[in-house]
């Protein structure tokens, strides 16, 4: 029993080891540039906060054995929606609330289609991705700059104290860890990912949980879109293009296999940080071009998937 417990921990213990190796390696390599310093770490959190927020929602969906391809498009749509509404002199908090509500509502619709039509999640969210990306273009084809006292105050606070975007990410992370571990909803998500049939027979509200899951993912990516507006003081329909891939990669590298049922939110934080560290290393290196990020992420993804497969087959043989 004890053995099996430690075996289940291997993927995300490896993830932490990889993060430490990367971070330590970069700290030694770039010690003259002060890589190992508080500002660089804060920037790491700030630059990856919207990816992180989207990845939190994605973790829940993947834990249940589903997938949500609409998150990147949702970031673009909500960011441009907030910017457009504020351009029409809507107060910032109301604009943000509208964006969050629209995101949650849309996720809810996707969840309902997945539940009632029994179509594969990747297909429904694929169509959803087209739709939301299109809606963003309908709101505005151009990127819109936000000029408002509220945003000035936020960026001022971010500069002087601590980035607001990073705070939102960390707060969402704590809430998500609580929800996943200590609420009936969280337990139902794990149960569905483990075996949907069994979860149904156990009397869990499988249908309701599924709709809730995609609503949650919609909310998280809408929040990520709002965070994007804080980060860039603008909204753009093309924001978050292909971000769903990074989010999925972060979740998988964080030790949650796409088959669902196993994994945790903390692992996703590590996954996001690993992607961020790779990006930062490439920026620090200066001579490496941005496409090396994609190749490095692909190689890491391969390594983790092979590791998970290897562990699975070992467990199956026992």
């Amino acid at each position: 029993m004890k053995q099996r417990f430690s075996r289940a921990q291997i993927p995300w213990l490896t993830t932490i080891a990889v993060l430490i190796v990367f971070y330590a390696g970069a700290s030694i390599r770039f010690r003259e540039d002060h890589f190992f310093s508080w500002p660089v770490f804060v920037n790491l959190l700030r630059d990856n906060s919207f990816l992180g927020l989207a990845a939190i929602g994605m973790t829940f969906v993947i834990l249940s054995g589903g997938i949500d391809l609409s998150v990147g498009a949702m970031i673009g749509f909500t960011s441009v929606l907030v910017a457009r509404l504020m351009g029409q002199h809507v107060p910032p908090l109301i604009a943000i609330a509208v964006a969050l509500a629209v995101g949650t509502g849309f996720g809810c619709c996707l969840g309902a289609v997945i539940r009632f039509a029994a179509l594969p999640p990747f297909l429904v969210t694929l169509a959803g991705m087209f739709f939301v990306r299109g809606l963003g273009q309908v709101v505005s084809l151009e990127s819109i700059t936000i000029q408002h006292g509220f945003y000035d105050a936020i960026s001022d606070f971010s500069l002087r104290v601590f980035p607001v975007t990073a705070m939102l990410f960390l707060a969402a992370l704590i809430v998500a860890m609580y929800v996943a571990r200590y609420t009936p909803f969280g337990r139902a998500v794990y149960a569905i990912g483990g075996n949907e049939q069994s979860a149904m027979l156990m009397g869990l509200a499988v249908g309701r949980t599924k709709v809730g899951l995609y609503a949650l993912s919609g909310f998280c990516s809408a929040l990520a879109g709002v965070t994007y507006t804080f980060y860039t003081s603008s909204g753009s329909a093309t924001a978050g293009t292909m971000l769903e891939l990074d989010a999925i990669a972060a979740v998988v590298i964080g030790g949650t296999p796409l088959s669902g049922g196993v994994g945790n939110i903390f692992g996703t934080l590590i996954g996001v940080l690993i992607l961020g560290v790779i990006q930062t290393i490439i920026t620090f290196e200066g001579t490496l071009s941005s496409w090396w990020t994609k190749i490095a992420v692909g190689v890491l993804l391969l390594a983790f998937i092979l590791l998970q497969r290897f562990l699975q087959s070992r467990t199956a043989k026992r």
Partner: protein, 335 residues
């Protein structure tokens, strides 16, 4: 009521019926209500017009959807085709421009490499046992990076009349991409329906364990379908690069995996595997392109294209959902 189409329509056409009706409806609507849609002109022995444009523009998605149909029939999916399209263009352009390779050699090398990339997906899925979405996600993420690495992030311009002919030439009055699609369709149909391959693919998609016990080499079948998809994506990449006489690793094949999957689904191939319909997928690709062209020609602002496309696609998927039909049926019966 369900019997009428069944009696009137020959068996081979039956599965194609709904996609064809949808396409015919779209075409008829546009013939009557979209100005200039039906106009065909013949210049220098070549046919021009929006109908021909639709055929030409959809050729890339049609090619990719041929391979994708077979992959989906084995209950898999290939997300990496867009990345392979980008790699194909980059490799061909690099070979021709920087290494002065002869055209046939460059094309053969490119297609060989793309087949190898497809085979890599196949090995991951069949031998390592990774789920198809994840296995092909790796190449989807890394592949575009590799293409950008090859071209150094630059657009490589190709000045080669033979290369331009792939997309710009004409064959029997029709654009050559259309001919390529027709030939590939014929080869694929012969390969799957003329031999037992199609049966093997369907049996693996239906029940892999059972087909393995029945003596079907499931791994080889999967390796074949992913390799074939790589080849198809490579051809699509060559057409794309030839069309603009350049390789653009950053923007080649955008969303082509999505369009191809949608074409396959619209064409009546079940995402659960076990059944496939090659002509249906081509009709699906034509429906998507007709829709896009019609939206453009009717003067609908370009920003609405994606929304309309998404709504149509979702509607088609919902129509095909057995579960939803049953639910609605039950509700009506109980009311």
């Amino acid at each position: 009521m369900n019997d009428i189409p069944r009696r009137l329509v020959p068996a081979w056409l039956r599965s194609l019926l709904w996609p064809l009706i949808a396409l015919a409806g779209l075409l008829l609507f546009n013939l009557f209500f979209t100005e200039g849609f039906a106009r065909l002109t013949i210049r220098d022995g070549h046919v021009y017009g929006s109908l021909v444009d639709i055929l030409k523009l959809s050729s890339r998605v049609m090619l990719v959807s041929l391979g994708m149909t077979l992959v989906i029939a084995t209950a898999g999916v290939d997300l990496s085709v867009g990345a392979v399209v980008a790699i194909a263009g980059s490799v061909a352009a690099k070979l021709i421009v920087e290494h002065q390779a002869s055209l046939p050699l460059a094309l053969a090398a490119t297609l060989g490499l793309c087949s190898a990339l497809g085979a890599w997906n196949g090995v991951l899925v069949a031998w390592i046992g990774v789920q198809p979405i994840v296995a092909t996600l790796i190449l989807m993420v890394a592949g575009r990076g590799i293409a950008q690495l090859l071209t150094d992030g630059q657009i490589i311009t190709v000045d080669n009349p033979g290369f331009s002919f792939i997309a710009g030439g004409h064959f029997l009055g029709l654009p050559s991409p259309v001919t390529i699609v027709a030939v590939m369709l014929m080869i694929t149909v012969l390969l799957t329906r003329g031999t037992a391959m199609g049966l093997f693919i369907e049996s693996v998609g239906n029940n892999e364990t059972a087909s393995r016990f029945a003596g079907v080499n499931a791994r080889a079948v999967k390796l074949f379908v992913y390799t074939f998809t790589g080849l198809c994506a490579g051809m699509a990449g060559l057409i794309e690069a030839s069309d603009i006489n350049a390789a653009d690793a950053n923007n080649a094949g955008p969303n082509i995996e999505l369009d191809a999957i949608l074409a396959v689904v619209i064409g009546g191939t079940s995402l659960n595997g076990g059944r496939f319909n090659l002509p249906g997928s081509l009709v699906g690709a034509l429906i998507i392109q007709t829709l896009t062209t019609a939206i453009k020609m009717r003067g609908v602002p370009v920003e609405y294209t994606l929304v309309v496309k998404a709504v149509v696609v979702l509607a088609v998927c919902l129509l095909q959902s057995e579960e939803l039909r049953q639910r609605l049926w039950q509700r009506r019966a109980s009311a």
